[in-house]
Symmetry: C2
Amino acid sequence: MKRVFGIDLGGTTVKFSIVDEAGQVLDQWAIPTNVEENGINIASDMVASMKEKMAGLTGDDVPVAIGVGVPGPIVGDMVERAVNLGWSNMPLGRVLKTEMDMPVALLNDANAAALGEVWMGGDPNNATGTAVFVTLGTGVGGGIVIQGQVINGEHGCAGELGHNPVDAHDVRVCGCGKTNCLECYASATGFVKTANQLFAKAGSAHIFTSGKEVFDEIAAGEPLAIEARDITVEYLASSLAAVVNTVDPQEVIVGGGLSHAGDLLLGPLADRLRDYVFPAVRDRYVLRRAVLGNNAGILGAAYQAIRLIS
Amino acid sequence: MKRVFGIDLGGTTVKFSIVDEAGQVLDQWAIPTNVEENGINIASDMVASMKEKMAGLTGDDVPVAIGVGVPGPIVGDMVERAVNLGWSNMPLGRVLKTEMDMPVALLNDANAAALGEVWMGGDPNNATGTAVFVTLGTGVGGGIVIQGQVINGEHGCAGELGHNPVDAHDVRVCGCGKTNCLECYASATGFVKTANQLFAKAGSAHIFTSGKEVFDEIAAGEPLAIEARDITVEYLASSLAAVVNTVDPQEVIVGGGLSHAGDLLLGPLADRLRDYVFPAVRDRYVLRRAVLGNNAGILGAAYQAIRLIS
């Protein structure tokens, strides 16, 4: 069985793994990401680390392709920009291909996570299916998989669901420069903000600092916390419904910090999504939590690499 | 150059054409759609018409594949349902393939129109590009093309943009059973309704009966008509922005009756869409009118047939 490198290139560490065609992670290690001088040494550090690993391997154990999830938009073999790495138009694909002499797949990190979840996170029979993946963390990210292929978009920006507009009464400025993006309300940050606003308005001095704290209150039946959850779910369901209508998926997968709330979030989300989607697809997709955590990106990157050699 | 049948199967007529690989329509004719007895004779009528045409053709002039745009969701070689034809789970693909002894591609009619517009309606260099297609007619339909391939969805429902939820002050029941779908506001019907509501509220007894009449008032500078247009554009832009963020297209193509208003509609739509999309894709897609009219569906069906033989 062939083996590939699956790599998650983050702003703090580069996580490497060796993955086989069945999705088994056979080895895993990490190096720090050197973001000095606009990240000029990152690619050569990656090459050195992979070469060092390969020196100890022989025969079928040697990886034959590379997949990398990158925190920025990918166009061709180029990382258009990656703010956390200091990169702008970095030809990472070409560099790795030349230095490592094997095929290289680059993909956006959220897209890699989407692909990983579709491949190894659910029903193996759905691995070539269509899925909408959304992460509710510090921000809101997403990825769209159509019949087992992740959609990159013409400018590497497909699946940017966090920046769908929502029609809110509040006005919140998004990191992207727009106002009232989905991310302003359905990220963990936005959710906590909504809860704090509701509590302050009710005269409470309590300040939440994490989504988990708000969900603890929801579990205890606190009405204002429930109201904050319902506002979040409302925006998320309405926005996801447009995406579900667009691609008609088998699965809608929710990851990121807020997804750990489980049914306290996914229960009402399923109900509202059901109300909002086109009736002909209602009850025909599965809404589920992401299950792979940080390994999703590595597995998705590996999957994309495996596609290059099969 | 190979030739194929491109067929637009409608509730009133079945429009046939013979199209070559360059997208030239070489012949075109139609037969009435016999919807009696739940449309049981439609497929055999189609076969008879194609066989009759083929009897007069020899050599390379004989079509070698069939593409059909159908007014309903397609799953595999099956039309899941087509209310206008009386069909439910009709194995049209299998029937045509057996009777005509050539490859058959079925696709939803809005998807066929999307594919046709991408193939022959714009820049030929974009024929393998990514596009969002929306029609603003009696209803609101849509189709999504990703790198030259139309997305059918897991249940034949991809691209049903008309049923994206909008957050409106009014409450309008959609034909699909939901309330406040995009179609209730951005179809020609919905647009006219919005204009009539505004005029009635202002004490006017004037009743518009077509989108064109409202756009004539807009051209004359009538503020209430402009307000109706702006409300329509607001819902449409916000909904399309979510779709643009999802697939990151090269083109956003607007067809259907309302698109004939040209810049009076597309000008403000471009502005609002620009405000709503993810900044990294802003100004990187082309918003344009559909140009092929009724031929879009025939050409898209033909394109899908050509894919089967090339």
